[in-house]
Symmetry: C2
Subunit: 380 residues, 2 copies
Amino acid sequence: MSELGPNAKLIGEKGSRARLDTPALLVDRDALERNIAAMAAHARACNVALRPHAKTHKSLEIARRQIAAGALGICCATLGEAEVMARGGVPGVHVTSPQVTEAKIARLVALAASPHRGLSVVVDHPANLAALDAAAQGAGITLDVLVDFEAGQGRTGVASEAALGALVSAALAAEGIAFRGIQSYSGNLQHIADRAERRARALAQTDRLAAMLTRLRDAGIAVPIVTGGGTGTFDLDPERRVFTELQVGSYVFMDVEYRHALADGRNALPFETALLVSTAVVSVNATGYVTTDAGLKCFATDGPEPEPLSGAPPGSRYEFFGDEHGRLVIPAGAAKPALGARIECVTPHCDPTVNLHDFYHVVAGDTLVDIWPVDARGKR
Amino acid sequence: MSELGPNAKLIGEKGSRARLDTPALLVDRDALERNIAAMAAHARACNVALRPHAKTHKSLEIARRQIAAGALGICCATLGEAEVMARGGVPGVHVTSPQVTEAKIARLVALAASPHRGLSVVVDHPANLAALDAAAQGAGITLDVLVDFEAGQGRTGVASEAALGALVSAALAAEGIAFRGIQSYSGNLQHIADRAERRARALAQTDRLAAMLTRLRDAGIAVPIVTGGGTGTFDLDPERRVFTELQVGSYVFMDVEYRHALADGRNALPFETALLVSTAVVSVNATGYVTTDAGLKCFATDGPEPEPLSGAPPGSRYEFFGDEHGRLVIPAGAAKPALGARIECVTPHCDPTVNLHDFYHVVAGDTLVDIWPVDARGKR
């Protein structure tokens, strides 16, 4: 078998999309390109920079397209992702989660010491800052650091303005550290369905951040980078001109959650579904449903269920049916898809869904035009 | 980095378990060996064969240990798993899901035509049987086939005794097919908590199967293999002497679900927890909890949450906290684990949890003694 999997031999063959070995993760090449271009145009219009989040796609090919469209770098959630991206030549890699253990700090400093342009990492605790400082000095480098501010989600970040100020001061004083700015990510706001509520809460959080930044700058502290934001607030984050760059990720694909959260009529998004899973019908003996070959090991299960988009009778519903199988429930009176028929589904939560696949099957119309590895899949 | 990941350099180092780069999937070598030995002894005592399900572990090393303990082969849920196992030298590979598409049938026949001992596959539809027959004849081989009977779960399998009889007859008549037996897997019974109910339903299903087998054999049809069963019914399936072999899988690891389903006092199991995830504390700024580095991308989310086993104050609770993070909720008054501290958790649903990891970190006591790849991870 090819290193690009069992479908490599179909690349370029007319009609190959319907004959793919399944289950297969699909990316619609043209929709992806339009999403990348639309976000780039939005950022230019708002005069904000983009450092899109590669935790969504984990792909060098997609990161390179984002850079080519004007992004100044990419964000990574794990150090393993950052290693893949930096070593793949992607510039400006920012690690958005604290790297705390001895093992991770050693890898981080090794990566920062390698010929790579612009690696940075967040820190949210003085003990972690001290450990990073010591390791950086030990390696004879200066490590770019942003202080992570807890912006409502409660996951990581300093919890108060006093703690923020103390950590910024410590970073400025540390010889192995270059203080680069503040990260403030409101993950808790991204999926609020009502746009007015989403806007009110996003702006309240941004105003709180702005006031703190003003006090830091009044104290003579330069804060070159203010990073945060997500696809759910992509049009709200730039409004107050507080963020210097956005970490948007899911806009490249638009999963079921983002379709539901944002397609409320009051907030038509300029992004399209670009990510699908193609699954085949493998059993048709039951009444009212057929069994497919894409289950828990093909779709993230932390959110909604997949949505059948093509190949299924209108009104069909997709349910998980174990690790390797799905159940396509057919409306009464509709004809069941045949054994071997392909169903294409919009994916639930795109980031962990992508993490279950080794390859993107890049499609244009009815044809498989390329296969891209999910380069940073499973990298910690 | 080594092809065995960032922890390869720690193999054999005393105390390395507490210094692993995290998150890391752990397998307790001695508990694993005891589980394999206990199931092998049980099967010998019941005079039933074992063909353990490799969908649980996806590992050549573990499959080889099961074979060495007396198993006559292993089961696989996907053709990709079967390719890895067969090409890795594991004998007697049985594929427990129908292989329906042209692409899968071509791969199946290629695998069956390769020098491998004892590949078999299930079939649940005459059209699929005809396609397998044609492909086998085209390749000049005979394909071993078992007819899949729907035993309550409704996922795959023929739905009636009449359909079973017709498909068996068709298999016997097909020149490219060797009919080898019946598969009857009651996945719906495995997690019934009450042992008396689990036993009553398992035996009722087995008796139904036995009656059908009697009628087939009375009609002069030899049924050499009757396969089914799972860890939840491992002691019930052999009771009626209907199954010739068991497909038990999860017993090698014992996840949170199986601990809860079976540790009800009435059914003390001779299997131990052998699978853990080691995670590090990466943020300690919140009140009442700490944030760890193992989230949705380290644990299956289709069932219960992970259970902290060591490193956490008694009464702590583990919650998912996004793709890359967990939240360890600490009881009031207990001391928070320190930044960088390791927490080891019993895993939820083991099969899809393992599928999220590239490596097993094999531990004995406080030491990392080996690293095994999850060979068939993500293979379809």
